[in-house]
Amino acid sequence: MSKQVQDAYIVAATRTPVAKYRGAFRNVRPDDMLAHVLRGVMARAPGLDPQLIGDVVAGCAMPEAEQGMNVARIGLLLAGLPQSVSGMTLNRFCASGIQAVATAADRIRLGEADVMIAAGTESMSCMPTMMGNKVSLNPAVFARDENVGIAYGMGLTAEKVAVQWKVSREDQDAFAVASHRKATAAIAAGKFRSEISPYTVQDHVPDFKSGAVKIVEKIVENDEGPRPDSSMEGLAKLRPVFAAKGSVTAGNASQMSDGAGAVLIVSEKILKQFNLQPIARFLGFAVAGVPPEVMGIGPIEAIPRVLRQTGVRQDDVDWIELNEAFAAQALAVMRTLGLDQAKVNPLGGAIALGHPLGATGAIRTATIMSAMQRKEARYGMVTMCIGTGMGAAGLFEAV
């Protein structure tokens, strides 16, 4: 069924550390973060002629304001890539990053390009609300009952999932604690070191005493989100945010974050021409729609679809980056599909590591690539649920 003419290989992937909402990157622009990872990923393929880049595809869930005006093109120019290189921003909400990887890979698989960069960038700190700078809902949403779910906040959809899939508060909290524990251990073991391009933040601050502008530099090397002290007792104290008698809290939901990631994808021809070492082959990608009011179950539809498409058995997938938008939906997906807990988010997930929306797919692809370089995975998957009711899944094979 595949109509591809050549394989698409990932030869490099990198990311910024993921910073907390209004944390280390509160003054860092998303276009600068993108430029940073574009430079970083090119640096990992020395000798590769940037003129050959067919396109830069960057995912972004709220492509407006600081990350508007086609942030992909702005980011690549800021990165110093040649003006002849083109760029597009694409938006599939939370799955924008993995969608960018799939779209970029497909251009190679179709023979239309030989070098592509897939990326994602998102600064949630730049956004006044979760819904962008200007929120405006279509009145028609309220005209049909089945569309009212469009108006639901993500947290409310997680509450609906928790009820329908019977995920208890205790299970959600335990899942969250495990996410923090795994992430903390991974950072301590230096598991993210190779994939991260440390970011030097330069804050321009007024020095009231001298009247001059002072530049305060800080190098950010690690993800900010994981809490070594996360505990069931601590999480139990948090109150539900989205429903009066609910179970979803700030502690068992993904963190709002800032970050960017980039993935360099090439054809076999380029591998040979520039003597590049491939990390993985891109196998396929699938996306599916689900009811908006339970958007978190999206992967339940998308995962089987990508497995059918690629002929890979679920049991053979040994590393799954399942985005933890909420513990409730992650658990519902894992239980429904029977995913092996040990294979899901071995280094922690978005509850600990953060979820910079449109960047997450590219960031977690970088995580899988480094796992493959460490020979810890053969088949790796990045999957996530998507606001307004979709799921996406992309599959890689180590080479």
Binding site: K134, S136, L137, P139, V141, A151, L156, K160, A243
Partner: protein
């Protein structure tokens, strides 16, 4: 004239009082440097910064607006004393230890500016003894300035001169305290605990004595000594818990140590049970246990007989309660004295002792009887002070009863009442307050009120019985309103309501409309002012009830339209109409203030469009006014998106948010930047009249009705509905809350029209009226209204 300018204040000591005094200065736009000791580790200003964080969490909040904390700079005595040079007023508020204060005074004195006032907030130490540590040059600028806790809310400040205090210094400080900080000032003498605490603590000691003598429960005594006799809800023992039992004991000890010759000296001792509680660490509210202890939702009270806590259930006996309800004070006291029950005997005894005590000590502790009465009103929240209670109950009759008890050995001491109580040879005394002033036992004459110019700003200050008061000249009067002029100033009319809680019924509406017409014809302007708060609690729901019950929606529509005509008449009056607000301005009362050319608001003004509580939306122009204001703000914003400005206003209406101060009312959008906030409620009428006059003199014409008001329209409604659907689905609001809030969304967004459509005020008024009447048609709104009328409380359905 010469102005006393306070550019900056320094407060020394970031404890409970110091930090809160700093906060209140910041409320009043007076920047503050708050000092304390340097922290032993970390940030040297850590102690002050921690205190400021504490202030942000304190309830009731010392800050009138959140941003006020930014105007308090943290400092410490080791590094920042040079900052004192820039301060015009320095208030010391450290712990009550003479040596500590002396040490600090010696340390800071070299840094105090030559013109600055240096004042101590001591509550009990001698001002003259404190002054001893100061260099001679500073003594002339030293005095006591005694605030009460919490200083934002308690009106009283006692000012105490020391021997060397320069003439005029207290006048300057008093002017600042009265207008800028909005306080009620009493000049006290340098006697232990000054006026309010001297009388107030004695009152508590007397209450404690008679509680034990008569074997009453603490909870029963609190039921007797609270609102039942015109004192605060916290009454006696809950007040002690709030103050802190250790603090109480300290104040009592001060009296014991410093008043050895006082006839009541043997009562200046903490009862044994109080000492026992303190030893156990049960110090009151701050330790979560004291005389009372809260366990979950239950409130338990210490029972001396059981030596343990038991559920608090104190109630006033029915017969005693009936006596306390008697309007005639003479009859009330007669019946109390005659009633044999322990409760009645207790009440007579505590009144008798306080009368006895105040009369005996008047010459030593206060300039005159008025100062004692105001000190108790303002410092302890008593509705009336001891002398006025005595006077209105019949001076001679009470005096004779007290005398009889003294002679019978029933009073706490045998010290006779001073002779002035009985009057002189010429005439028997009928009271201490009269047309000529209030009696001064030290001067043996009646003392008139202060002639300090600041008091000319108080056109109708609080009065004591027997004082003359300008009745004003009536312009016209109905059963519902009175339009009048006062103080011989016939250029500005005053309009006051006569309804209960100054609610707005149909007759009040008609009165306002007529008053506006008369003001346009005969006056430079009109001020809407009430002699007592609230400004107005809003539309009179009871007046709507018949039409609601009959389902006569045409009549409801007409009634709402008339209300809108009233607010529009106020807004478009040809002479300025100024609302002088103190206390609550809710619903229609808020709308009235919003439609005035200016609202002059006392700091403690509580604005709110609270209609959602009864299942309705503001329809007296409130939604319209918010829509217009949002549209006007949007014209200055990039993109001109009205929605950004509308959303917070929508939340304010949907959640029926009430401001907790006039400054917060400005943040919420009820008040405009040009609406003055006045710290002293007794000055609002003066300021409002001046404001109306100034507007007239500057050629005031009402703004023309806005045309082309761009509304948020259908997309705006849908976007607000998105928020509502999440709250409803999350179980945070009921289906009817949703319905009501959607009505408000429609009214604020100008109805189901395209986003950005230009409309006018009439259109907006029609939309809010329509939404209002539609809500009246729902069963649940009718239930809410009926419930409010029956119980006075909102129904959640």
């Amino acid at each position: 004239m010469s102005n006393f300018i306070v550019r900056k204040v320094a407060v020394l000591g970031a404890g409970v009082m110091g930090a809160q005094i700093a906060a209140h200065c910041a409320n009043a736009n007076v920047p503050v440097v708050l000092f304390d000791l340097p922290a032993k580790e970390g940030d040297p200003n850590g102690i002050v910064k921690k205190a400021l964080d504490g202030l942000k969490k304190l309830e009731p909040t010392p800050f009138a607006a959140k941003d006020r904390v930014n105007y308090i700079d943290a400092a410490n005595y080791d590094q920042n004393l040079e900052l004192l040079h820039g301060c015009d007023l320095i208030i010391e508020a450290i712990a009550e230890k003479m040596e500590w204060k002396h040490d600090l005074y010696r340390k800071v004195a070299p840094f105090v500016a030559d013109h600055a006032i240096f004042a101590s907030n001591t509550s009990g130490l001698s001002i003259n003894a404190l002054a001893d540590a100061l260099p001679e040059g500073l003594r002339g600028r030293f005095c006591g300035v005694h605030f009460f806790n919490p200083p934002r809310y308690m009106q009283l400040v006692e000012l105490i001169a020391c021997k060397g205090t320069a003439p005029g210094l207290l006048d300057d400080l008093e002017t600042f305290l009265v207008t800028t900080l909005g306080k009620g000032v009493v000049r006290a003498l340098d006697t232990p605990n000054f006026v309010a605490n001297r009388v107030g603590v004695f009152s508590m000691l007397a209450v404690m004595h008679h509680t034990e003598r008569l074997g009453l429960g603490f909870d029963v005594v609190d039921a007797l000594t609270g609102p039942a006799i015109g004192r605060p809800k916290s009454a006696t023992y809950r007040t002690a818990d709030v103050v802190g039992l250790d603090t109480m004991a300290h104040v009592i000890k001060t009296m014991q140590d410093t008043l050895p010759n006082d006839p009541w000296h043997k009562y200046y001792a903490a009862p044994a049970w109080l000492g026992a509680l303190i030893r156990k660490g049960a110090l009151g509210q701050k330790t979560k246990a004291g005389i009372y202890r809260k366990e979950g939702k239950a409130i338990n009270v210490l029972d001396l007989a059981k030596q343990d806590y038991r559920p608090s259930a104190g109630e006033v006996d029915a017969e005693v309660a009936a006596i306390l309800k008697i309007k005639n004070p003479a009859e009330k006291f007669d019946k109390l004295r005659a009633h044999p029950s322990a409760q009645a005997q207790f009440l007579w005894a505590i009144f008798r002792d306080i009368f006895h005590y105040c009369a005996f000590h008047l010459d030593a502790i206060a300039d005159n009887a008025r100062d004692v009465d105001f000190a108790m009103r303002w410092g302890f929240g008593w509705r009336e002070g001891p002398f006025e209670t005595w006077q209105v109950a019949g001076w001679q009759a009470i005096a004779n009863a007290v005398k009889a008890d003294i002679e019978a050995g029933k009073a706490l001491t045998g010290a006779p009442l001073p002779s002035w109580v009985w009057g002189d040879e010429k005439a028997g005394r009928n009271g201490v307050h009269g047309a000529k002033g209030s009696y001064s036992a030290s001067a043996r004459a009646d003392e008139p009120r202060s002639t300090l110019p600041v008091y000319a700003r108080q056109l109708f200050p609080e009065r004591v019985p027997g004082e003359a008061q300008d009745a004003g000249t009536t312009v016209f009067e109905s059963d519902a309103v009175r339009m009048w002029t006062a103080g011989g100033e016939n250029d500005i009319a005053i309009l006051s309501f006569k309804s209960k809680m100054n609610s707005l019924g149909p007759d009040v509406l008609e009165g306002i409309i007529e008053a506006v017409a008369r003001a346009e014809k005969d006056f430079k302007g009109m001020v809407i002012w009430q002699a007592k708060p609230p400004f107005s609690v809003g539309a009179n729901l009871a007046a709507l009830a018949p039409a609601l019950q009959a389902g006569d929606f045409a009549a409801l529509d007409k009634a709402v339209a008339r209300f809108q005509q009233m607010t529009q008449a106020v807004k478009y009056a040809q002479v300025p109409v100024v609302s002088a607000v103190n206390g609550m301005a809710l619903g229609g009362g808020c709308e009235l203030a919003m439609h005035s050319a200016r609202a002059v608001a006392a700091l403690e003004s509580y604005f709110g469009l609270v209609e959602a509580g009864v299942g309705l939306i503001p329809a007296g122009g409130g939604c319209k006014e918010f829509a217009v204001r949002a549209a006007q703000s949007a014209t200055t914003a990039a993109g001109g998106d009205v929605f950004l400005f509308l959303q917070p206003l929508f939340q304010t209406i949907a959640m029926a948010t009430t401001s907790r101060s006039a400054l917060e009312a400005r943040e919420l959008g009820f008040l405009r930047d040009a609406d003055p906030v006045v710290f002293n409620p007794d000055e609002i009428l003066y300021v409002a009249k001046q404001t109306a006059r100034a507007l007239f003199e500057s050629g005031h014409r009402p703004k023309l009705p806005p045309r082309g008001v761009k509304v948020a329209g259908r997309n705006g409604i849908a976007t607000l509905e998105m928020m509502l659907v999440n709250m409803k689905e999350g179980g945070m609001i009921s289906a009817h809350d949703y319905r009501v809030a959607r009505g408000a969304a429609a009214a604020l967004c100008g109805g189901d029209v395209e986003t950005g459509t230009p409309v006018n005020e009439d259109w907006l008024l029609a939309v809010e009226r329509h939404e209002f009447v539609e809500l009246c048609k729902t069963e649940k709104t009718r239930q809410r209204i009926a419930h409010m009328l029956e119980t006075g409380k909102p129904l959640r359905n």
